[in-house]
């Protein structure tokens, strides 16, 4: 009994130290999560749909989540949106029109100049890629709900020669 007691006393500081260290790591991970989902996060974007604003091969941009929370995302801004067709994917597009505005777009820009005009319904935004010839966006799947917007891309950090605001 006394040996057990001694044993416990011997190990107590080490266990205590271990607990406080793991708590510190947990706190750090929490801080990382909160800044990533609520303040600002780096995102790797690639693909042809946002040429020439963003490169084909992959740019790293900073995305902030604050203006989306306060409803301050307007036309002309580059946003990261959860894809309405596959919720596990995100797409980067530019907002063309917000609720209540009407938008005119070419249905098949490569083949003809037939155009459509639609009015964006309440609570939705119309998103389009800068490269209209190779982009899957609102022209195919219609206006997207504002709730799908994850954040606004505002600063490019990679490649180095493109460093600066978007």
């Amino acid at each position: 009994m006394s040996r057990l007691f001694q044993f416990a006393r011997q190990w107590k500081p080490i266990i205590k130290e271990g607990f406080s260290q793991s708590f510190l790591i947990a706190k750090f991970l929490c801080l990382l999560h909160v800044t990533n989902t609520h303040v600002c996060t780096p995102v790797l974007v690639y693909g042809p749909s946002m040429l020439p604003t963003l490169n084909l091969t992959g740019d790293v941009v900073l995305v902030e989540h604050l203006s989306q929370k306060f409803g301050k995302v307007g036309p002309g801004e580059v946003v990261v949106v959860r894809s309405p067709e596959n919720p596990r994917k995100t797409v980067t597009k530019r907002i063309v029109a917000v609720e209540g505005e009407s938008v005119t777009f070419l249905v098949e820009p490569a083949l003809s100049d037939r155009s459509h005009t639609v009015v964006v319904p309440r609570g939705h935004v119309w998103i389009q890629g800068d490269n209209i010839y190779s982009s899957r966006d609102s022209r195919q799947f219609g206006p997207v709900p504002y709730g799908l917007i994850l954040g606004k891309a505002f600063w490019r950090v990679w490649p180095p020669d493109g460093f600066g605001s978007l």
């Binding site: 947990a26 706190k27 991970l29 929490c30 801080l31 999560h33 909160v34 989902t37 609520h38 409803g71 959860r82 894809s83 309405p84 067709e85 596959n86 919720p87 596990r88 319904p121 309440r122 609570g123 939705h124 997207v144 709900p145 504002y146 709730g147 799908l148």
Partner: protein
Amino acid sequence: MGTRNFLWNSAKKFFTIGLIGLTVSDRYFSIVPVRGYSMSPTFNPQISSSTGSLTDDRVLVEKFCLEKYKFSCGDVVVFCSPSNHREMHIKRITALPGDWISTPHSYDAIVVPKGHCWVEGDNSVFSLDSRSFGPIPLGLVHGRVTHIVWPPQRVGKVDKRIPQEHLPF
């Protein structure tokens, strides 16, 4: 000096608690109150006069389903309203991508598009749901309701239920 130290320590403590609470509610589970009668009798079975009273049900929402966005028919989910991103709604999923669904006004059947789902309230008279705004993207879903945690006499699991009229499709 002592008071400043005390203030600094309590501020640090509050900050830590806030961080951990926010992370847990974002990633694992949270508790939300249910307002209105669109899901009666599953939630809020009794009709009370005031909104936001103590007798409103509180439910536990789990977020693990958001890793893969895997849902099944009959799940009760919390989602962001497609017409107003500040509002959250609680409804039951009645159809998943690829399912056929009959629309009430036109006697017409439509297929739920890829990445979308069809949500309906249990109380079809009071409910504003997919029958008025159409299928919603799965990306709007913020979690799955699993348990009722308040009031104490109604604590229990929320069961999966598929409305009878949708079965034979």
